[in-house]
Symmetry: C2
Subunit: 294 residues, 2 copies
């Protein structure tokens, strides 16, 4: 019988591409991963990996096997969820991954609600880079994660993960002067010569800001890299530049800041391992999150 632990390694390899990365993700040494994958190949009787240069790639048989692994792991996740539901009292730890804005804007009241409805549940929050969310969910280091996607920056679908929508909010352009023009492009274009305040390079928010400006026909002249939207708005208020902020980050804008609603939106979703959607802790947390965003 095929070993599911080994299939899990193969699946992770499909996502990451190198044995070293798989090892790091699942906290093994590359040696262990290599040995286990070799054992899987022996057991399978077919080549699953192709050694190309100093890297490895999956053969067609390997890709096909990953699909089966995906299905098996999903079903095991379902089984675990059902067991947790049968348990009744719903205690234990839920590990939550979230991007900074969500941690600040959504999680406090969501966790308060969760503590009221399920006092036995023990939530652990981890502020985690959006790019790291998917691997850490798959690896089981996180149970639930808040992720967002912008127009211009669609999230790529992950076969191992599932998600439900949580929030769909408009983006605002923050300036100190009323913005001009009709439509997003015109509104943004009015700021083409202003200094911009955007998020740290490498983040989704950074990509979003740059792409939005490019779609309007210009490249933003970046002055500051700031991730916290409250700080961003404070900077805008003192004339340090203009910025794009989501509604969630635009509560209580400082005096003097003008917020111009755009048609582009940011969607926040709750992601979890496929099959875990029925887990009572996941259900409870999603309900708490929904109540927190009204």
């Amino acid at each position: 019988m095929l070993d599911v632990r080994r299939l899990r390694l193969l699946r992770e390899l499909a996502y990451r591409g190198t044995i070293a990365a798989v090892a790091e993700a699942l906290t093994f040494t590359p040696s262990a991963v290599s040995q286990q994958l070799a054992a899987l190949e022996r057991e399978a009787g077919v080549a699953l990996l192709e050694r190309t240069g100093r890297r490895v790639a999956l053969t067609p048989a390997g890709v096909a096997l990953v699909r089966h692994a995906e299905a098996v792991l999903e079903r095991l996740e379902q089984a675990a969820a059902e067991l947790a539901a049968a348990k009744g009292d719903l205690s234990g730890t839920v590990r939550i991954g979230a991007f900074p804005t969500a941690t600040r804007a959504i999680l406090p009241s969501a966790l308060a609600a969760l503590a009221r409805t399920h006092p036995g549940l023990d939530p652990m929050v981890d502020e985690v880079d959006p790019a790291e969310v998917a691997p850490r969910l798959r690896a089981g280091e996180l149970d639930v994660a808040l992720v967002h996607e912008y127009d211009f920056v669609p999230a790529e679908p992950d076969l191992a993960l599932d998600a439900v929508p949580l929030l769909d909010e408009p983006m605002y352009l923050a300036t100190i002067r009323p913005g001009g023009g009709e439509g997003d492009a015109a509104t943004l274009l009015a700021c083409r010569d202003a200094p911009w305040i955007v998020s740290t390079p490498g983040t989704l928010c950074h990509v979003m800001a740059v792409r939005a400006c490019q779609a309007a026909g210009f490249s933003p002249r970046v002055r500051h890299h700031i991730d916290d939207f409250a700080t961003v708005l404070a900077m805008v208020a003192v004339g340090q530049g203009v910025a794009l902020v989501p509604e969630l980050g635009a509560a209580d804008p400082p005096e003097g800041v003008t917020l111009t609603a755009l048609s582009m939106r940011r969607r926040t979703r709750v992601a979890f391992r496929r099959g875990a959607g029925g887990h009572p802790a996941v259900v409870a947390l999603i309900a708490a999150l929904r109540s927190a965003v009204r």
Copy 2:
């Protein structure tokens, strides 16, 4: 993550009812099975087994988990089948279980055909009691098995197994005198006072004969217990009694034996682990069997 090896033990427990039987089926000691199931329960966090007297029974949570185990094992079987198909050359051992009549009547030409179409395949035949077929298929000791069911003795469906029809043949009443009457009941009733030759108690064929007579309104007076249909017909020919034989066992009846066709039938099917239907060796063997029964 739930351990699939342990889930397999739980599934087997669902079929067999006692830990000792599971241990015997999978060639462990009862101690090992007990320890592993205890570990599974610990891992699940819910009671899966209920100690009732000196036996164990599955709790509802246990039953639910077995369903998931069933699905996972099926998918793993599919994966193995696909790997075997990807392998191409189709070599290795196929373990075939068969009841005696089939071994004699079907398998020789089927194996000859298989040797022609797939010389690399190495079939191993095991004459096995029909009651043992399902457990041994599940345990992986057999890959394919020939099973039959009669009217009056329907096979109970097994969630872990799948089967395709192979043969649907009429039953015959073997006598030395032309049988009288219209319909099965009348035909059988004409022999109510004759001595009967039936199969060994405990076999399906035995149950079939007794039930058929009971359905006709009488209990057969059994004189001989003989399993081989050729021998049975020889005994009928010398006046030792009457018997019910399937068409497959009634080829070349001895001089003096009258065969009266009945409307009751025997269906032979090819069984295999659910998910293994796509395994090239299974596909090849089924094709060979079909060619052997014309």
